[in-house]
């Protein structure tokens, strides 16, 4: 590996450059489009130099779009709020349900424990619509159709397996002897869980929560099937937006930028844990 020829180094450099261009170009381009007016976007050949405008963002944030044929209402901020609310609450619920269960699976071998853990894992790989389509009919009967509660419950399909399996790994990494010592000193299991296990697994739990948030945010099919316009997150909202706003490409780009920025920022922040999260704890980064 040490003595690489000049030719090889050049080839490697070219290959890496091509890779970076392919994967970065769409993001950069959409970002640039979001600062352009429709006139500059529609120009051929595409412009690399242009006068940036914030008009697209102000239209989205104020919710009013002025066109030649009058003003249009844009509900995009509503979608953005739905995404924030649905993802945050889903992760909070998943942590509340998943962390104690993960602790039970890590510390106690009890009858049926592995069965439950694997059933939950298998949800991650079952086709979403298999469950979603009957659920639409059930939700209508139960009055859960188009409610946040119904959506948050279904979001557990993504968040819970992730949290359970990652956090379980972190609990298993804590030597059981530390907990025994604390128990022998006369503390209850709950105190042990709260004072010893939770703080030691803390970073892992936080990372699992961040990842679950990203996956919940990026989900598309659940809300597409179960939510109507006022409850839809950005992933579904942006799609509806592209048809309703017609030809306002700058605003669509701005909406995409606003929709992907939170997950990209969180991913950069939590990148140390991404490998572990993406492989559900099978590979350490």
């Amino acid at each position: 590996m040490e003595h690489t020829s000049l030719l090889e180094r050049i080839l490697r450099g070219v290959a890496l450059t091509l890779v970076v261009i392919f994967f970065m170009f769409p993001i950069v381009w959409i970002f640039m489009m979001s600062f352009q007016t429709n006139e500059t976007i529609l120009r051929i050949p595409p412009q690399l130099v242009f006068e940036p405008t914030l008009a697209n963002y102000t239209a989205l944030i104020t919710g009013k779009l002025t066109t030649m044929s009058g003003t249009l209402d844009i509900a995009f901020m509503r979608n953005l709020w739905n995404s924030v609310f649905l993802s945050t609450t889903s992760v909070a619920v998943a942590l509340l349900l998943g962390v104690p269960a993960a602790y039970a699976f890590a510390r106690h071998k009890f009858r049926g424990s592995e069965d439950i853990a694997f059933t939950l894992l298998s949800f991650r790989f079952a086709p979403a619509l298999l469950v979603l389509l009957p659920l639409t009919l059930y939700f209508q009967k139960l009055g859960l159709a188009n409610t946040y509660i119904g959506l948050i419950w279904v979001y557990q399909l993504i968040c819970l397996p992730l949290i359970l399996w990652i956090v379980r790994g972190y609990f298993e990494d804590i030597p059981a002897d530390i907990e025994y010592a604390y128990r022998i000193a006369g503390h209850s299991w709950f105190a042990t869980f709260r004072k010893i296990a939770l703080p030691l697994a803390g970073p892992g739990i936080a990372a699992a929560g961040l990842l679950a948030f990203i996956f919940a945010w990026n989900n598309f099919v659940f809300a597409l099937v179960l939510a109507s316009a006022d409850k839809q997150p950005v992933t579904v909202g942006a799609l509806a937006f592209i048809t309703s706003s017609g030809i306002q490409y700058g605003q669509i780009s701005a909406a995409i930028v606003l929709s992907i920025t939170p997950t990209l920022a969180l991913a950069l922040y939590a990148q140390r844990y991404l490998v572990e999260g993406l492989s559900l704890g099978a590979v350490k980064g």
Binding site: M1, A15, L16, V20, F23, P26, I30, I41, L42, I44, L97, P100, A101, Y103, A104, F105, F110, I116, T119, S122, F123, P127, A128, L129, L130, V131, L132, L133, P134, Y138, W153, Q156, L164, G169, E172, D173, R183, I184, G186, S188, N218, N219, F220, V221, V234, L239, S253, I256, S259, I260, L264, L266, L268, Q271, V275, S279, L280, A282, V283, G285
Partner: protein, 307 residues
């Protein structure tokens, strides 16, 4: 655990027997499990029924008819073919590309680490929004990719709106989103390999291709298997990218399993056929996920051992 019987200062009023405790802790997760299993079995029942939302009065069990009809239904064979083709092409290309990129970035330099973090960005973009981004870039009117295609002589290249190039376009988006997934897992795998075999090979002056095929690949196999099966499981169920890009069109060019089931349910309101499609897809993924979980567990134990 059984050794812990000494218990002083027990907080009053909060006694849970040790046998019951794990069940209490996992009960909420268990309830969610059951809540999901109910619609699953409902799907099984629907799949054996003649059930159309538009004709609720005609709903009745027709047993295997939905499944038997598939044998003579060219639309079903189209769905099966396009799903397998999509999954096969995307996973194969992503594996080759991901492995290549991981090997380019293997050395732990600041630049390599920076690039590998940057490459995660497509993966963290919602697939539906990624499809939307590519839709804007391939717009025939102003899309930058349409312009670039015209520069290399592909006038009027219609990307996702032409039946002949629609599959190519969605595969391209899939590659853009998911290659980083395989890349990042294989990179972690490559960097965790022991260095001695490589040093020994370098000392002996073994050719590089031999090192790659006889040392690197075999040692990387568990990672490759896990990453590939993971992707295969997701890819055969792809919905977001295809639906956001073309809604299964043009015509029925891209009606993969989940898209076809969605359209059957909401457009032709044929619940029975839709459920039968999902059960077949489930059978495929169940088979794959069993193989996957074995590999995944082995890798997970190894990761725990290293920790």
């Amino acid at each position: 655990m059984t050794a812990v019987t000494v218990q002083r200062n027990r907080p009053s009023g909060f006694r849970i027997s040790k046998r019951v405790l794990p069940y209490v802790l996992s009960l909420p997760a268990l309830l969610v499990c059951i809540g999901i299993l109910i619609p699953f079995f409902t799907s099984v029942v629907y799949s054996f029924q003649r059930y159309r939302l538009s004709q609720p009065w005609a709903r009745q069990f027709n047993w295997g008819e939905n499944y038997l009809n598939f044998f003579t239904d060219p639309k079903f064979w189209n769905t099966l073919e396009i799903s397998l083709l999509y999954a096969g092409i995307t996973v194969l290309l992503e594996l080759l590309l991901g492995l290549g990129i991981a090997m380019l970035l293997q050395k732990r330099t600041t630049l390599n680490n920076f690039i590998s973090i940057m490459l995660l960005m497509p993966l963290m973009t919602a697939p539906a929004l990624a499809a939307l981004m590519w839709k804007l870039m391939t717009n025939p009117g102003f899309g930058v990719l349409s312009y670039l295609a015209s520069l290399i002589g592909l006038q009027d290249f219609r990307w996702a709106s032409s039946p002949s190039t629609a599959l190519f376009t969605v595969v391209l988006v899939d590659i853009w989103v998911y290659t980083p997934f395989i890349m990042i897992l294989l990179l972690a795998g490559l960097r965790s390999l022991p260095t001695q075999p490589f040093e020994a090979a370098a000392l002996d002056g073994v050719p590089r291709s031999f090192v790659f095929f006889r040392i690197t690949l075999p040692m990387l196999t568990p990672y490759i298997l896990t990453a590939t099966l993971f992707r295969l499981l997701d890819s055969i169920q792809q919905f977001d990218i295809i639906y956001a890009m073309t809604q299964g069109g043009p015509g029925d060019t891209l009606t993969v399993f989940q898209v076809e089931a969605y359209l059957n349910f909401f457009q032709s309101t044929n619940v029975g056929r839709s459920a039968a499609l999902m059960i077949i897809l489930w059978a495929i993924t169940y088979f794959l996920s069993n193989i996957f979980i074995k590999n995944w567990l082995r890798l997970r134990e190894r990761a725990r051992g290293l920790a």
